[in-house]
């Protein structure tokens, strides 16, 4: 009778394991439960029943009775292999970083068939007499397990299409991703994508201003890209965290410590801003802009306990994912994510009431020489610059594994999201700042000559696949800072200096665009009032512009010319306004993208 039980145990492990094969591709709701039952059921059954029995059985037959059984030896060996590979899969998993994972996986899978064969051979006599009983018991044992999985409504995570209601738990907190993807989390934690909403003082002030100016509903326009999680929850505005009576410093804390602490204390509280899942659960994206992406949060295939917050369950879910991470990968990584159209769903903005284009970064890229699908070597998508690691001012792809124990990659797409905004990320983390500044420095080239008392300065956009500057370019300052000294060291000409208040002096050459409202007045912060374009001096990709500066007459040569192409993310007047609500904010530093010093004889 005992042998029958052991056979049932082994059959249980075998059948539950086989069902997990890709070949059967069973419904996800069954899969996640069966995977759990297979792994943890096998551990329990093996330790409690199979191993004690084997010990006794081997002792009796080999040592006391001195039986010689080839099939027994074979069965023992196969079982040993299965135990070994199973233990490896449980403790370390098949994460892709080492060959042993995959090896264990295949051994575990195919040897199990050998085991069943060996089992039959080993108990020929026994099998045929009791085979029928075994078979029927197995059927009886496994039927109920189907009966509870059948009601997909209860085990399945599927919501109806176009889920109307989201719960904050649908927005898996980014802090949970940290456990297995610590490097990526660290990069993202201080990046601009993380700090797009509640922890971005400029955004908070502007969203409030938009709500005041165009009505509270208008906030949704901002939130579609800046704060998708709040939109899905029908929240009307972006709210910031409070810890007791203070706002946990959103500006200077490194590594998103607020988020992690908040998650520990209140795991169900909604994470705002662009979280891991906000991008990695996008199923479809159109380059139209204004958050033109499709999110699928609820129809996600989650491993058992993937969303849990209890430590034990989190541990179990890690085991389940690591043992067979295929589904996890395909759920969170899609080929779409490498295309520029994907980024364009947000990095293209237009006014909903007039259709006027406010930000057209994607269109600029489309027209640029960077968009060249015919020549793959010249073709560069957004991520080829903005998500590639830089070192010493040059692109040098980061090598290694992005996941703990994961596959070795030659080019990890880093999540610093380097770009124009070096400032807010830099307040928290110098590495993020340095990535952005290095990228900025690759963008332009300067040249100059003097012709008949006129200083000619050429600025060429060499590195950016879009205009320089792009984005909400009213709030970006790219300008030429020029100093000319004569042979005595006396400054004879200067342009583009900062005055005492921190503003760029008048009549400087600034590359930006200026929006005007319907009366032709500059819109200032109210960029949604844009009707007429007052000025557009941005430099398109690959183009060179020439600026002329008339020098005073009768100069003593040789002249020393110092030309700087400076960049500042927010003009001083914008920062001053934001400081009214966030007094702790500092002024953004000026970055010199390129400097050219030249002697003219």
């Amino acid at each position: 009778m005992k042998i029958l039980y052991i056979n049932l145990d082994i059959l249980f492990m075998f059948v539950s394991g086989i069902l997990l094969m890709d070949y059967f591709s069973i419904a996800w709701s069954y899969f996640r439960v069966i995977e759990f039952l297979h792994i943890f059921g096998s551990i329990t059954v093996t330790i409690l029943f199979v191993l004690p029995f084997l010990y006794k059985h081997i002792k009796e037959s080999k040592i006391i009775m001195k039986h010689k059984s080839m099939s027994g030896l074979m069965l023992g060996f196969v079982l040993f292999l299965l135990l070994l590979s199973g233990t490896y899969l449980f403790i370390i998993g098949n994460r892709g970083g080492d060959i042993y994972g995959a090896l264990s996986y295949y051994i575990h899978l195919y040897i199990s068939f050998v085991l069943i064969l060996a089992l039959v051979v080993h108990q020929k006599k026994f099998f045929f007499s009791r085979g029928f009983a075994t078979f029927t018991s197995v059927i009886v044992l496994f039927l109920p397990s189907y009966s509870y999985s059948k009601s997909t409504k209860l085990t399945n995570i599927v919501f109806t299409d176009g889920a109307k209601y989201h719960h904050s738990i649908d927005w898996t907190n980014s802090a949970t991703c940290k456990e297995c993807h610590p490097k990526i989390f660290k990069q993202w934690a201080d990046s601009n994508h993380r700090h797009l909403a509640d922890s971005n003082p400029y955004y908070m002030v502007l969203e409030n201003l938009a709500g005041m100016d165009k009505g509270e509903k208008f906030r949704e326009w901002c939130m579609g890209c800046h704060n998708p999680s709040a939109v899905s929850m029908h929240q009307e505005r972006t709210t910031h965290f409070m810890k007791d009576n203070v706002m946990p410093e959103p500006l200077f804390v490194k590594g998103s410590k607020n988020l992690i602490n908040e998650y520990k204390a209140h795991p169900n509280r909604l994470e705002q801003g662009v979280s891991c899942i906000a991008c990695h659960r996008i199923t479809d994206a159109k380059p139209a802009g204004n958050s033109s992406y499709a999110l699928n949060l609820t129809k996600r295939k989650k491993y058992l306990y993937e969303d849990s917050t209890a430590e034990m369950k989190v541990w179990i879910s890690h085991k389940l994912i690591n043992a067979k991470p295929k589904m996890h990968k395909s759920e969170y990584m899609k080929p779409l994510y490498k295309k520029s159209e994907y980024c364009a769903s947000c990095h293209n903005e237009f006014l909903p009431h007039s259709g006027r284009q406010v930000v057209a970064t994607y269109e600029q890229w489309k027209k640029s020489p960077f968009n060249n699908p015919k020549k793959p070597k010249e073709h560069k998508d957004c991520i080829d610059c903005h998500m590639t690691h830089l070192e010493k001012g040059k692109f040098s792809p980061l090598q290694g594994s992005s996941t703990l124990g994961g596959k070795y990659k030659k080019d990890i797409k880093v999540h610093y999201f380097a770009g124009g905004n070096y400032f807010l990320a830099g307040l928290k983390n110098k590495e993020n700042e340095s990535q952005s500044i290095q990228l900025l420095k690759t963008s332009a080239k300067l040249d100059s000559k003097i012709d008949k008392g006129v200083l000619l300065v050429g600025v060429k956009n060499v590195g950016a696949g879009h205009k320089l500057p792009t984005g909400a370019a009213d709030f970006r300052e790219l300008w030429l800072d020029i100093t000319v000294t004569d042979s005595n060291g006396k400054t004879v000409f200067s342009s583009g200096k900062l005055d005492k208040k921190g503003d760029i002096e008048k009549n400087s050459i600034i590359y930006n665009k200026i929006f005007g409202d319907k009366n032709g007045k500059p819109v200032g912060l109210f960029f949604w009032r844009y009707e007429k374009l007052l000025k557009d001096t941005r430099i398109p990709a690959g183009k060179r512009v020439v600026e002329r500066f008339t020098l005073p007459e009768n100069l003593e040569y040789p002249l020393h010319v110092d030309i700087k192409l400076n960049f500042r993310i927010y003009p001083q007047w914008v920062t001053n306004i934001v400081k009214a609500a966030y007094p702790q904010l500092t002024d953004p530093p000026v970055i010199t993208i390129k400097e050219l010093e030249k002697q003219f004889d």
Partner: protein, 400 residues
């Protein structure tokens, strides 16, 4: 042995799965708009009047009649920091309101003229919430409340029966003296307050005009009380009760119906939707309950009790952190029921401001007061209803 244990597991799992179908469901009445209105009105809920005479009927008292001049004086005092010991706090520091609540451009003015307001105020003054949006109140000398008590909103509080978190004060006039004298609020004695106002020529003149006996502490309180009484808000909910079916959204009406039928209105009742009774919180104690319902059920994910959990946690008096250790009236966990009008603007919630999320607060109330696991949809609807309680301060022309 193995077969038995497997059988046991199967039975348990099947039982858990079919249980939801076996439990009889309480039939819920579906109200149409008229029925909903009638039910609400018959249970003591009422709109805040728009007409001045109705307002007077509701709030005027013989001892302290409401007059235009007195309201103006009260308003002056409400925003004046002279009534606090170190002249840094006024009533409006904690019960934050704009001097002109209908100024839509207030925010723009404040950000372009920095220094006129504290940083939080710059954004939050336009909430018109009558509370400070902080966890706990900050009084003179930057002292926080020793019991870590949260500032309740002043809006509509004149219509409440009880005031303060333990409900000790029962008249709107009675609440003013303890606020001015309180060590952690404004900390100014009656004599000093009188002396300070007597030093001001403007105040002396104004007081003489309105009161026979000029500046006395009693008169200060009376003037403030009258101003406080004018701080009433009207919202979509009031318009609905007055007969406008389109005022509230369908979702909010469903929430309203739930609000009545699930039992919320048992405590949050009256014209103020709360503030009329003192109740125990929490009435249910889940500290030693092992709950396994919904191990495999998607429906219950995200709830505290329904997720498979052995409650190993420490005994908790409240379903949130017991900051400040305040235990309500007679230390029996008896609290004044908060006013729900404008509740969406007065986060954080509960007496110590430990809960920041309205949905979480609704969930806690359902679970700990009514023993109900509200579904996400129910919470959504109730929150939509609470949104319809958001109002704007009523301007009575007669007082302008």
């Amino acid at each position: 042995m193995l077969r038995l244990s497997l059988l046991a597991i199967i039975i348990v799992v099947v039982w858990i799965e079919i249980l939801p179908y076996l439990i009889p469901k309480k039939t819920k009445q579906i109200y149409n708009d008229t029925m909903l209105r009638e039910t609400a009105l018959s249970r003591g809920m009422a709109p805040i009047p728009q007409e001045y005479d109705k307002f007077l009927k509701l709030l005027d008292s013989k001892n302290n009649p409401i007059t235009k001049e007195k309201v103006a004086l009260g308003k002056e005092l409400y925003f004046d920091t002279v009534l606090s010991k170190d002249k840094t706090r006024s009533c409006s520091s904690c019960h934050m309101l704009g001097k002109n609540p209908h100024n839509k451009m207030q925010f723009l003015e404040d950000i372009s003229h920095p220094g006129t307001k504290t940083d939080c105020m710059v954004c939050h003054i336009k909430d018109e919430s009558g509370s400070d949006r902080l966890s706990t109140a900050i009084g003179v000398d930057e002292q926080t409340n020793p019991n870590h008590l949260n500032t309740p909103t002043i809006l509509n509080s004149a219509l409440a029966k009880y005031r303060m978190w333990d409900g000790t004060v029962t008249t709107s006039l009675g609440v003013i003296a303890p606020m001015i004298h309180g060590k952690y609020t404004m900390n100014l004695s009656s004599e000093k307050a009188e002396k300070r106002l007597k030093n001001s020529r403007v105040y002396t003149r104004e007081f003489k005009k309105i009161f026979k006996d000029g500046v006395t502490f009693e008169n200060i309180a009376k003037a403030l009380d009258v101003y406080q009484k004018t701080l009433l808000t009207r919202s979509a909910y009031d318009r609905f009760l007055e007969g406008d079916n389109s005022a509230m959204s369908e979702e909010a009406k469903k929430g309203f119906s739930d609000f009545i039928q699930l039992g919320c209105k048992g405590c949050h009742t009256g014209i103020t939707v709360g503030g009329q009774t003192i109740q125990k919180f929490p009435t249910r104690n889940y500290n030693h309950i092992i709950d396994v319902t919904g191990i495999f059920s998607r429906k219950y994910i995200g709830r505290e009790t329904a997720a498979f959990d052995f409650n190993f946690k420490q005994y908790q008096r409240f379903p949130f952190e017991n900051k400040g250790g305040f235990l309500g009236k007679n230390n029996q966990q008896l609290f004044r029921v908060p006013i729900l009008r404008n509740v969406t603007k007065t986060s954080p919630y509960f007496h110590n401001g430990a809960v920041f999320d309205l949905r979480e607060a609704v969930h806690i109330m359902g679970k700990y007061q009514l023993s109900m696991e509200l579904t996400e949809k129910q919470i959504d609807e109730i929150v939509a209803f609470l949104h319809s309680l958001d109002g704007e301060i009523v301007e009575y022309k007669e007082l302008k």
